[in-house]
Amino acid sequence: MSGAVDKIEVAGFRHFFQSESGPVQATSIIDLRIQAGEFVTLVGPSGCGKTTLLKAIAGFIKPSEGRIFCNGRPVTGPGRDRGVVFQELAILPWRTVRRNIGHGLDIAGTKPAERDRIVARLIDLVGLRGFEDRYPHELSGGMRQRVAVARTWAADPDVILMDEPFAAVDAMTRLTLQEELARLCATTNKTVFFITHGVEEAVFLGDRVLVMTRRPGRIKAEIAVPRRTPGGRDWESFTADPEMQAICEQVLRLVREERGATLVAGDGASVVPAA
């Protein structure tokens, strides 16, 4: 575990938002290390600070306390080494599917022929063939989110930060995308930090599942998921594997505890911090 520099290191991170009624504590102290090639998933109750942590790693939120490193260098802002799939829909309404997905390649100055090849492959991958020249408002919510995922993949970043990317995608497409994501990350050795509300999704995708407490969140548990067949992961063998199902139940229990506590303390967004 030691020796090599961590891809991502979060040390003593804590964040407060300034609001009209004073500072709102979004997270408790968080320490986190992600190694190169690791796929880390994060689950936790709504409003516990997951997006805050992700945006801090992306470089959009300056931590109130603590430091964040990428490849051993302090994060001072966003960069193309850390691609982000945002929780909100973030593709550009004025670009067609093709031009949205190719945007990162255009910025990087990739040759048009090469760019078109990459874009065409990704359009096939996310099942959008035939929609290349449509504008986002002509697509369904799930299709738009697939464009967002493809756009980030096309830019080929070192680290991919994903904030509930498949939440709006239909169940069938989601299964395919999850399998493809697992395969793609295993073969390209990408480092992924993936936020989700789906316990099964977290266990299926993650090498490591982190569970956060309610707001102000901290990481209360970390469950390693053993991989027998790294590349070839599929939902059939996942659901048939008793060990995986046991891990899912364990994670679900940990998440449930927070759900119960949240209900007692009010909503996730309640101003009174539960001690």
Binding site: G77, P78, V84, E88, R95
Partner: protein, 274 residues
């Protein structure tokens, strides 16, 4: 899109009705005018008939003065509006992207907005004299502030997450402005241009009434001296029709190709584009 299948002939008829619909208020207005005129028979110094107005247009057109006046007005309007739009968009971007500057400029804007328009006229006559400069300044003054304010608003309302997403693709500040901020603010900019042109016309006519020797405003002003209401009404109609034509053949096509195509505003016509 429609639930009942329509025959091509009926669809064509439907499109034709859509095309002509904007003109129906004009037809109703013209009919009401004719009826009133034929009943009341007011003297020409009070109100012309449609025939009088058409006659005036033909008379002015034949003498050649109508074309001269239209071109003079269009030249002033074009120059003032182009300057106003270009400077309004540029200044609006700088201000919209810079919060402290926007806060600093806001009271000044409220101040100048209140005295924009023809209030400047007496001062400006003293400064630049009577002529093209005066009209161009007054038009610029109307167009600039509206385009500026709309651009600032549009730039500020572009969702931050769109800019952030493009920056994670490696975009620098310039690329972010070009590919996100500008198209994102375009609906507001176009809206500003549309209202700006309307106010520009008013400023133009006001400036020409007192500060020009040619132009549609001056044509109306001269006609007033002789109580030629037929020429006055003809002038008003020509101004209105040029403004409508500019909107339909200049602004609408831009909107149709950009913000409407991107689904950022409702289409102005029902159904599919013509």
């Amino acid at each position: 899109m429609t639930d009942t299948p329509r025959t091509p002939a009926r669809a064509r008829l439907g499109r034709l009705v859509w095309r002509l619909l904007p003109f129906s208020p004009i037809l109703i207005f013209g009919a009401a005018w004719s009826i009133y005129w034929n009943v009341a028979h007011p003297p020409l110094a009070v109100m012309p008939s449609i025939a009088n107005v058409v006659g005036a247009v033909i008379e002015l057109a034949q003498s050649g003065s109508l074309l001269t006046d239209i071109l003079a007005s269009l030249w002033r309007l074009g120059l003032g509006a182009l300057l106003g739009i270009a400077m309004g968009v540029a200044a609006g971007f700088v201000t919209g992207l810079n919060k402290p500057l926007a806060t600093f400029l806001n009271p000044l804007l409220v101040f100048f907005n209140a005295i924009s328009g023809i209030v400047w006229l007496p001062l400006m006559i003293g400064w630049v004299g009577i002529g093209t400069g005066l009209a161009v300044f007054l038009i610029w003054n109307s167009v600039f502030f509206i385009v500026f304010q709309n651009t600032v608003l549009g730039v500020q309302l572009v969702p931050e997450v769109l800019e952030q997403s493009v920056r994670t693709l490696g975009a620098g500040r310039w690329e972010t402005i070009r590919s996100v901020t500008f198209p994102g603010a375009l609906p507001y900019i176009l809206n500003g241009v549309r209202s700006g042109l309307g106010f520009g016309w008013r400023a133009l006519i006001a400036a020409e009434l007192v500060g020009a020797t040619t132009g549609l405003g001056q044509m109306i002003f001269r006609a007033a001296d002789f109580s030629r209401t037929d020429i006055i009404v003809a002038g008003c109609l020509i101004i209105g029709m040029i403004a409508m034509a500019m909107d339909r053949w200049l602004l609408l096509p831009i909107e149709r190709r950009t913000v409407q195509r991107w689904g950022m505003v409702a289409r102005s016509e029902g159904g599919r584009p013509g």
